[in-house]
Symmetry: C2
Subunit: 224 residues, 2 copies
DNA sequence: ACCGCTTTTTGAACGTGTTCAAAAAGACGG
DNA sequence: CCGTCTTTTTGAACACGTTCAAAAAGCGGT
């Protein structure tokens, strides 16, 4: 790692610290550069703009989420339990940045960004998020077979999206309402999966999987 | 309506036209003011900032949606049909602003805004959106009774949210993929409602309604 | 040590959204 | 018509994100 990487890292550290302490708006590019010991213009040599630094924060949070989940997931638990683990872990990782949540989400919505989970071209960021749910599904018992089992991670990713949205707009202390939501939604989804196995639900499940199939065909926008 | 209202309206018209033609970033406050025939500073006497003009666009789109739905909804149709009508009408109304979608959504996410459907204090904007779904439910046959019938509009509003999100990130020509999604999701939700009436689904439905009850208690964030 | 070339760094400049003190216009009673 | 108070309008100013030409630093070959 040369001098170049050092400057880049200094900028990231300064930016992320200021984001956490001061929020997005109060963190000026001049301040970031000053705290990293470089000129304001130099920051633009390493990052395309202020938003690129937000994206850096986004990928680091996501990586931290994956690492934390790997340490907490236990094989053989119920799907409801594993799902709750993944969701709660995500909330733990994001917690220090709650005041920053809106900006983070806005950045993710910008589909031109390479780290946006919705960007049509960059499958990587999206799959990384879905991978977490696949872990939760694969390591839970009883196993879920058939087409539903294949597509379940994608569907649970949508649930994750919903929880994240709720977290962003959750003004309760410590975002406890979102915690509550996770604790209630996880068993509910577990029940739904069991219900999906009954004969009476068969035609519905068939249509649902067909829908997911159709909407995830190549060239699709991100949401399945 | 005095001179004051005229200037305000001129600003709105100029802003909305420029938003449609040039997009958000290329529409500068100086340009809006010039096109309305006032000074740049004067615009801030009528609107708190650029975002307030976006919110104005938002409420007008929502009002147009309500008006258009009232003309298109037919009583006695299936829930799937009425649901598709509401969703397609929404897409029709928003169509001219698709390039603007991201900005619109970002504005809605800012929970401090009085028109945000997620703002904890302003129930009006949220209820207005849910009202549409209540219309679709109430005017469809067969009727849906019980607690599920009461809370269904709120749940369908979540589906509406998802469709809107898909629309924003949908890059297909004319957003035809989102149209397809609506055509597929509406009958699927219809099936789900019928499934919810069967005895085997009873415990799941009970838990679901209890969850919606709990999450919509007073003081809640917007998402049920 | 010098040259030529690339990579990195700088600081001034531009256009933007927004603020604000002051000017202008209006409203109203005497 | 004047004086006073409020409402409206102005244009200069500010801080911000971003751009860019030019300077500085690094680097390999001779």
């Amino acid at each position: 790692m040369g001098k170049t990487e050092e400057t880049r890292e200094k900028l990231v550290v300064a930016a992320l610290a200021s984001f956490r302490e001061r929020g997005y708006d109060a963190t000026t590019m001049r301040l970031i550069a000053a705290e990293a010991g470089v000129s304001q213009g130099n920051a633009y040599y390493y990052f395309e703009g202020k938003e690129a630094l937000v994206q850096e924060l986004y990928v680091r949070i996501q990586a931290e989420h994956r690492a934390a989940v790997a340490g907490r997931l236990r094989s053989g638990a119920s799907l409801a339990h594993n799902l709750a683990t993944v969701l709660h872990t995500g909330l733990d990782v994001m917690a220090p940045y709650h005041s920053f949540g809106t900006t983070l989400l806005q950045s993710a919505l910008r589909t031109t960004s390479p780290v946006s989970p919705f960007a049509p071209d960059s499958q990587a960021a999206r799959e990384a998020a879905i991978w977490l749910m696949r872990e939760a599904v694969d390591r839970s018992r009883p196993r879920i077979g058939g087409r539903l089992g294949e597509q379940l991670p994608r569907l649970l990713w949508l649930a994750y999206l919903g929880v994240t949205l709720h977290w962003v707009i959750d003004g309760s202390p410590g975002q406890q309402r979102t915690r509550e939501l996770v604790d209630r939604v996880s068993p509910l989804l577990g029940k739904a999966i069991r219900l999906a196995g009954t004969p009476v639900a068969k035609p519905f499940v068939t249509d649902l999987t067909a829908l997911v199939d159709a909407m995830t065909a190549p060239g699709r926008a991100g949401t399945p």
